[in-house]
C-alpha cells in the first residue's frame, strides 16, 4: 500500500508531492526508502533528482545502488558521471561506471578516461556502451599490455564488421603472444568464425593452425562445415 502511495506521489507534478517523496527517500529505511528513491527516478522531477545526490553521499551501498538505479530510470547521465568523477572510493567509481555503460553514456565515459585513469570496469563500460572507437585506440596502444589486451578482448563484446576486421588485423600484426591470444579471444567473443578461418587458411605454422582449429571448433563454426560438406559433395 505504501509503495502504491509513493508511485502516486511520483506522478503528481506538484512541489509538495515531490518534497514528500524526497522526505521518504531521505528518512525511511530499507525497502521503503529504496522504493521512494526509485519512484523519484520514475517521476523524473529535476529538483527531486538533484536531491538524490545528498542521499547518495549519506547512504550505504544499498541506498547508493538505489540512487544509481533512479538515475538510470530517469536517464540522468550527468548525475552518474558526477558521482564517478568526484569519488575516491573504488567501488563507488566502478558501480557508477557500470551504470554509465548500461546507459550508453559514451561521452561521459570518454571524459572519465582522461580524469581518472583506466580500470577494468571502465573498459567493460566502453564495451557495454558499444564505444568501438575508444576501445580501438586502447587496443592499438602498446604502452600498457595489460590494458591493451583487456581492450582487445572487450572489442569482441561490441561486435560488428569493424570490430571483426580490426581484430583480424591486430592478430596478424601482434608483437607478442599476449596480444595475439587477446585478439583470438576477441574473435571468439564476437563469434567471428570467418575471421578465424581466414587466419587458419593464411597460416603455415602447424602449432598456430592447431590452436586456430580448436577455436573454430569451439565456436561451432558453420563455415567449417560448409567447407567439409562441399568438399564431400565434390568428391562424390
Amino acid at each position: 500500500m505504501k509503495e502504491r502511495a509513493l508511485f502516486i506521489l511520483s506522478q503528481i507534478d506538484e512541489p509538495e508531492a515531490q518534497s514528500t517523496l524526497l522526505r521518504f527517500a531521505r528518512e525511511a529505511n530499507g525497502e521503503l526508502q529504496a522504493e521512494a528513491i526509485r519512484m523519484i527516478g520514475i517521476g523524473g522531477d529535476k529538483e527531486a533528482l538533484a536531491g538524490l545526490g545528498e542521499i547518495y553521499q549519506a547512504g550505504d551501498r544499498e541506498v547508493r545502488d538505489a540512487v544509481l538505479e533512479a538515475y538510470l530510470i530517469a536517464g540522468d547521465k550527468q548525475a552518474v558521471f558526477e558521482i564517478a568523477a568526484n569519488t575516491d572510493n573504488e567501488e563507488d567509481f566502478e558501480e557508477a561506471v557500470d551504470m554509465l555503460g548500461a546507459m550508453g553514456a559514451r561521452d561521459e565515459l570518454r571524459e572519465l578516461r582522461g580524469r581518472t585513469g583506466m580500470s577494468d570496469s571502465l573498459i567493460d563500460a566502453y564495451a557495454i556502451s558499444g564505444d568501438f572507437e575508444t576501445l580501438r585506440e586502447l587496443a592499438l596502444d602498446n604502452s600498457n599490455v595489460e590494458l591493451q589486451t583487456q581492450a582487445i578482448e572487450a572489442m569482441g563484446i561490441v561486435g560488428g564488421d569493424q570490430v571483426d576486421s580490426t581484430l583480424v588485423e591486430i592478430y596478424k600484426g601482434a608483437a607478442s603472444d599476449e596480444v595475439r591470444e587477446a585478439a583470438l579471444e576477441g574473435l571468439l567473443i564476437s563469434g567471428n568464425d570467418a575471421g578465424v578461418l581466414e587466419l587458419y587458411r593464411a597460416s603455415d605454422n602447424s602449432a598456430e593452425k592447431k590452436e586456430l582449429l580448436e577455436y573454430l571448433v569451439m565456436m561451432d563454426s558453420d563455415d567449417v562445415w560448409t567447407i567439409i560438406d562441399s568438399a564431400l559433395d565434390g568428391s562424390q
Partner: protein, 169 residues
C-alpha cells in the same frame, strides 16, 4: 552384396591380424551401450574430463557418461591428469548417438553397458572419426561431436586429417 561380404571378411581378417577392432566394426557395432577405446599415439596427451552438476551438489570426481548436465573441459574443475585420448561412443538401437573424448585418466561412471575395445592405433581411430564426420547420413549434431572430440584428442594425426579435409577443393 558379394562385394560387401568380401569387404566385411577383409575387415574381420585385418582385425584378427592386428588384434584390434576395425573402424567399421566400431561404427556398426550391433551392441547398444557405450563403446570405448584408447589411442596410443606417442606424445599425445589430453586433460579432458568433466564434472557433473546435480541439484545441490557438484561432483568433481569424474564423468557420469549418462548425465544430462555435464560440463567438459581441460582446465579448472573439469580437468584430469593428462592421459591418452579415451574415446566413448554411445550406440542406441544401432545408431550412434553420442561421442565423448576424455583423458584416459578421467574416471567415468555409467549405468549403461560399456564395451571396452582396448587400444586402437591412431590410424584406425582417425578412420573411425572420419567415417562419422564424412557421413552426411549421420545427424549433424553427432558429426559436430565427432569433430569436437577429434580436436580435443590433441592428436597431431587428427589435426593433419582435419587440415586435409579443410584443404580439399
Amino acid at each position: 552384396m558379394r562385394t560387401a561380404g568380401l569387404v566385411t571378411i577383409a575387415l574381420l581378417a585385418a582385425a584378427l591380424v592386428y588384434g584390434e577392432s576395425t573402424a567399421a566394426e566400431l561404427l556398426t557395432a550391433d551392441v547398444d551401450g557405450w563403446h570405448t577405446w584408447r589411442t596410443d599415439e606417442p606424445g599425445t596427451v589430453t586433460g579432458m574430463c568433466c564434472f557433473t552438476r546435480d541439484p545441490g551438489a557438484q561432483s568433481q570426481t569424474g564423468c557420469n557418461l549418462d548425465g544430462s548436465r555435464v560440463s567438459y573441459g581441460n582446465g579448472g574443475n573439469c580437468s584430469a591428469e593428462p592421459g591418452h585420448a579415451q574415446i566413448y561412443a554411445l550406440m542406441k538401437n544401432g545408431n550412434l548417438t553420442r561421442i565423448r573424448v576424455l583423458s584416459s585418466e578421467c574416471p567415468v561412471s555409467t549405468e549403461t553397458q560399456l564395451t571396452d575395445h582396448g587400444v586402437i592405433s591412431s590410424d584406425k581411430n582417425i578412420e573411425w572419426f572420419s567415417s562419422v564426420i564424412e557421413n552426411e547420413q549421420i545427424s549433424q549434431d553427432i558429426r559436430e561431436e565427432a569433430l569436437f572430440g577429434l580436436v580435443q584428442s590433441e592428436s597431431d594425426a587428427a589435426f593433419e586429417y582435419i587440415d586435409r579435409l579443410l584443404s580439399r577443393r
